[in-house]
Symmetry: C2
Subunit: 107 residues, 2 copies
Amino acid sequence: MVESTLCPKFFKATEILSKRWNALIINQLLSGPQRFCSINSSLPISGRLLSERLKELESEGIISREVFPEVPVRVEYTLTAKGLALKNVFAEIEKWSKEWIQLEEEG
Amino acid sequence: MVESTLCPKFFKATEILSKRWNALIINQLLSGPQRFCSINSSLPISGRLLSERLKELESEGIISREVFPEVPVRVEYTLTAKGLALKNVFAEIEKWSKEWIQLEEEG
């Protein structure tokens, strides 16, 4: 028999990271705090869906939303320490993708 | 302006890894070749869905399916070199989950 290695914390982590767009949103914020429109223009995703995902990631403690009382008001999204700690995960995904993913146009 | 870091290879990698159950199936096979029923019993997923995902991961070149002509026939799933190369990604997810994921019952 093969023993299951399914730790609940690992399971929860893959649930968060596997939710469509979450990985790309987190990856985008690894380059620094960003405004909504800037994240939105970097990803092929609707504003409504991005807003939903940002709220979920905020409730998971992965990103924080800061409001700057300027005119017009400025809202920025930043990775928390928990979110920044995902840096190595994304570095490994990037390494893997460079080495192993072949795009169709490359034959 | 923030420059988009969305490389098509990275995008494709997150598409594969983000598809529900794929990460957990690959993680399960990191412990070695396994038969269908053994993968199935380790994950809360229907046989039909597991079979679909295994076919997709096979077509991505991440797992291979080996048939041993025994009686009854034995079918095993194994990670290819491309699949095994994901080891570091999963090691980093595990590290992150241990450090940062709090389960509800822990308060």
